[in-house]
Symmetry: D2
Subunit: 388 residues, 4 copies
């Protein structure tokens, strides 16, 4: 690429564009993680972080990536050999069940086509069949970052409840939290897994677990080996405003700033903004004459849109052209979608004109890559964006 | 305006979007302005700043706005009552001649329609008529920030030369330097006036005078009162790597970083980038069915485009809607163009997708303001941007 | 110097150590200087800046160094040939009267020994003798940055009043404002001159004039040529929350942050802190067996301490050793004190332990330079610092 | 505490004072962790990080605290029930063996008095007695952050070799790396554990494992459950310049900057600087009439000094007074040393005058707390600092 001018368009579905005030916040001097100023920061944060999860229960903040938060959710609640129910909704759902297997759990992995979310009926069916209650947890990815397909978390909860099955409900919100409506308490989730680098508008480096009372009780008897990711010493130290080991201080500064921004905008407004941007993006995709990967209208993601290319085109080649010519990063197809799709991230700190620029770059890149598309995509998106 | 998300689009014709690395550079700790580290900075800068002016002669760096650099150009070279030749090319040319009058100079102000640059023939005619050589300086604004019309500096030089007139040639490049091709030495300019906050991609706070040998000689006898803006003590202190009074240290850090960016991209590439963006912008304006203010193809600005609205519309109302709805700042019509035009800045640190987003915002804003435009503007611009 | 580790000790009497939060504030993106967000910033600032001057009247903020603010004070209030009364209290007082002369004023320059402030009796005597009221202004430097000697501004006011003389009273507070108690209104000052890079804890680049009603009236008839520094268009634009030309936006962000810090600490506490640090510094100097330059107990500066060396030593050599070995910058002797003194800045953002480190560096540097001093200086300072 | 002015003295033994350029580096915009710019960053870093470990073998960089790097060292090389040899050199050595037990290892924990490092003879004795080679690893903390006592890593290596025992050698350098001489390859260490927030001058959030070929071989058969901390996928992805999951991008920017600073100063100079500062600190402690906790001259830490108080004094009360009055954070006594000692951190980005300020604050704080000390401590330290 020639020397780039202007701001890079980081339109992968995370890490997202970090607001400049958050970047400035994380560049404040590191302080004593055992002193009074830090305690005040932590006490505030542990409270301020709850609304974004829709919870009044504890949220565990980990110095880790989202992958670490996945591990924390499993090792704190389950025992070797426990059976867990997972769904093949995409690449990350597959990786999470791989991790579960690697940790010594037995996984029932319900196959999927990567174009639909979890089917609540399938959940009900599986759990109803498990009369011995061998299944200890149902693991669902709220927003599949690899596909732009969401699963309906409340509906899955209802499906679980319909069977009276006592399994824990673990939900990955890594790429949805802070972008797509989510309610840990109301939807009866037991462990919500999240990371810093998506809707929370931070650099990567923090993992989160929101923890229900039921999950907390389960953690007392859970037998998987855990140390770094053990909730107990963290929750214990958090009581006094500290952490059991050195936390990622500067990212916590950023978290405080980011939470205040979300609060100032208002979570319902944040969610509506993302929904609207997703609609505008789909309008563009359809006007181009291309397919959105997600097939169910109820399951479109507000955070990203995966675009399926005609078979004869290599999506990675399109992405390379767009990066070279327009200095924009898009998400690649992962796993079995490699080369077949590209993903447009429209989550986090984002607005109408950046979306317009993003879609303009995609449209020009498709054209330059020789993908036959109707150049009406941007106009279609603008039509949507002109409306509130 | 509701709480904004995403990055503000600062598309006024300056101050421009400051690159984040330049912002970080200016946030380095202030140092001793009389110590060895500062000397090294200054010695380097005084050298590195020359290519962007197209000069090998001294460049005076002032802790001031561009307005201060205007004053410096006048007070260092002229004496009370001196006659200067100015041209009404727009709002800033008018302000500069106002300043000249205020400083005690006699101004020949050639009227203009704000839609054309300086007419080289008019220059030749005026100077040829001045057989007594009473005119001591010709003052031209290279790029009229209020209109998006440039004056052809080399052609004006040729016109001056054609008459053999010894007048000094003072050129304001405040909104062109670092965005539009400019050559202080080659074009025989005596004082080039510039500021930090446009093509140099810095916050406001630095003024510049590039100074020819002839201007330097003139400064020895120039009789206008000067103190803060006096070149002599600055050039003298610069010899030793210092300034006669405390300079704007942190902006100098930013200047070093910005000059390195311009150098890395290569000035010809920088100019070509702006020319191309201006072409794309004009393609959009024409496709909308609106008029570009500039009427002469040779005089279109690479830095900004002024768009004339049909008489029944208030351009400031359009701008307000765009700011409220799309968080983008555009330039207002100034002076006699108030309410009649808006100005799209596409100078400084800027790229294709930001331009696409910018034009999308303008198109939607025009529509929302009830200005009847063909929504083909953005598409027309993208057609241009698809080509290198 | 070898590669330095740790933080540089910037103990010149300005620019001072800029707080990291102020540095982060100035690195926020530059915004439209004609938009609503900027207006809000300016309206707030013009109000918040007043207490630090001790005034309820307007404060003019200039994009300039303190030298520019000197010029503004003179050109806005005086006319060519006007007589002004100045006092040779040190290097900067000398430079200011040089500027006055250069601007076409007639200066009565009362000689001094650079070890005392302005003598109020001398003021009274001079003014009383001026029965024709030819003297239009009395110019006093509150804190002579070159000597660490203050002038008693309130006492000079009383001296002026005792004569009933109508001269304006212009005071340079460049290195005292925000560090040493100062009261523009209460002390009847007409123009207070200040800069950003000392007690205001900012990088250099802003100049200030606090303006009394009397000065404002004087400005209407003042005949010195002025343009960039003209108060009238600034005050006029300020009414609407703007500036007549592009202001130094990013430094204004820093100013807001710095003013909030001063307000949070409380100005009386800020002044007491500096007084205490000055006492500790003098305790060290005396314990070393060296002389403080200032000879009058009533005139010691809270902002800096100038240390006189025995004749056989070169103070600049001491400073060089300290910079090389301990990465600390101290102020040089200026003008006729070159090589005879060094100056320890203890103004701005500063605390006990930084002072202790500073004095330790001076003590070791003196020893390494072969200046015979009693190594009891630091201990003497600590004795003072142990007390509140 | 009243509003603090000036820079906080963060003199705990980590997190350390992060250099401002490192803070600025981590505030650069987050980029695509799968794009070419990131790959270039990673490829460079994986190489540039090696010298500070004294290795040419791979270094694994983890998005975790140092505690995570402890876990990584154990889970990658050992199997459930494996016997490991640990030494009670202080609080962190105790925590590490607690972790080992928690992970299912069998720990031989050799008791200690927290005032000595590991005794190489004890190592030899234990290993010689283990003729069945049941001990799979020897775990040593290079620099006990809780005591300021180092263990002689090369001597322990020799002790291991003297027995011909094949145990792995795992060394925690969390608070020594980049401050105290360390040589992974030369000293035959198999896994070196480190964190970002001490000598590497970064905020917390990165963990490191330098890995010998032998450790790598061991990892193939190691049976402890591992997922997040598994070296294999990391090393595999690193080959292509990436990570298997989202890394802590912005801290990696800081790491690059910090490594360049260490390289510019030169590691031998860095180590000498810390040795010298430790000597000056001990000179102060002894002059005060207090005891350094470390009892063996060969084992003094260059990174921190723990000061033992007379029994009747509460070290935490001293620390509180120092924080309140002088805005300096010191390290607390941990575990069985709670209230008995305080710890002065002099590691990381640090220089002579900051040390002088630090010791001045300690001296005054001791006095204010009523601890009878000879106020000659600072002077004794300065005597040492006056020498190179």
């Amino acid at each position: 690429m020639a020397t780039a001018s202007g701001r890079h368009f980081l339109q992968i579905p995370g890490p997202t564009n970090v607001p400049d005030n958050v970047l400035r916040a994380i560049s404040a001097p590191t302080i004593d993680h055992r002193g009074p100023e830090f305690r005040e920061l932590v006490v505030g944060l542990l409270d301020e972080v709850k609304p974004v999860f829709g919870t009044t229960r504890p949220v565990v903040i980990l110095p880790s990536s989202g992958t670490g938060a996945w591990e924390a959710a499993l090792v704190n609640t389950l025992s070797p050999g426990d059976r867990v129910l997972c769904f093949e909704t995409g690449h990350f759902a597959t990786l999470w069940q791989d991790m579960a297997r690697g940790l010594g759990l037995t996984v029932d992995f319900v196959p999927g086509d990567w174009r639909h979310g979890v089917d609540p009926d399938a959940v009900a069916e599986r759990l109803a069949a498990d009369t011995a209650h061998e299944i200890k947890a149902v693991c669902v990815v709220h927003n599949e970052t690899s596909t732009g397909v969401t699963s309906r978390i409340a509906d899955v909860r209802r499906a679980i409840d319909s069977t009276g099955h006592p399994a824990l409900y673990l939900v990955d919100t890594i790429s949805s939290l802070g972008s797509i409506d989510y309610r840990h308490d109301e939807w009866g989730v037991d462990v919500t897994v999240a990371g810093s680098q998506k809707g929370l508008m931070l650099p990567p480096g923090l993992g989160f677990n929101a923890v229900s009372d039921k999950a907390l009780r389960a953690s007392r008897d859970a037998g998987l080996t855990r140390s770094y990711f053990d909730w107990a010493p963290i929750l214990d130290a958090n009581e006094r405003g500290f952490f059991p080991y050195t936390p990622a201080t500067n990212l916590l500064y950023g978290l405080r700033e980011a939470l205040r921004m979300l609060d100032a905008e208002g979570l319902p407004n944040v969610f509506a903004r993302h929904t609207r941007h997703a609609e505008a993006t789909r309008a563009a995709v359809r006007a181009w004459g291309l397919d959105v990967l997600c097939l169910d209208e109820r399951e479109h993601s507000g955070a990203l849109t995966a675009v399926l290319l005609p078979e004869e085109h290599d999506a990675d080649q399109v992405r390379r052209i767009i990066l070279d010519r327009f200095d924009m990063s898009l998400g690649a197809g992962l796993g079995k979608l490699t080369g077949r799709i590209f993903r447009i991230g429209h989550l986090g700190h984002f607005n109408d004109l950046t979306l317009a620029g993003t879609l303009a770059g995609v449209q020009m890149g498709l054209s330059l890559a020789g993908v036959k598309v109707d150049p009406a995509g941007v106009a279609a998106a603008l039509q949507r964006l002109e409306r509130p």
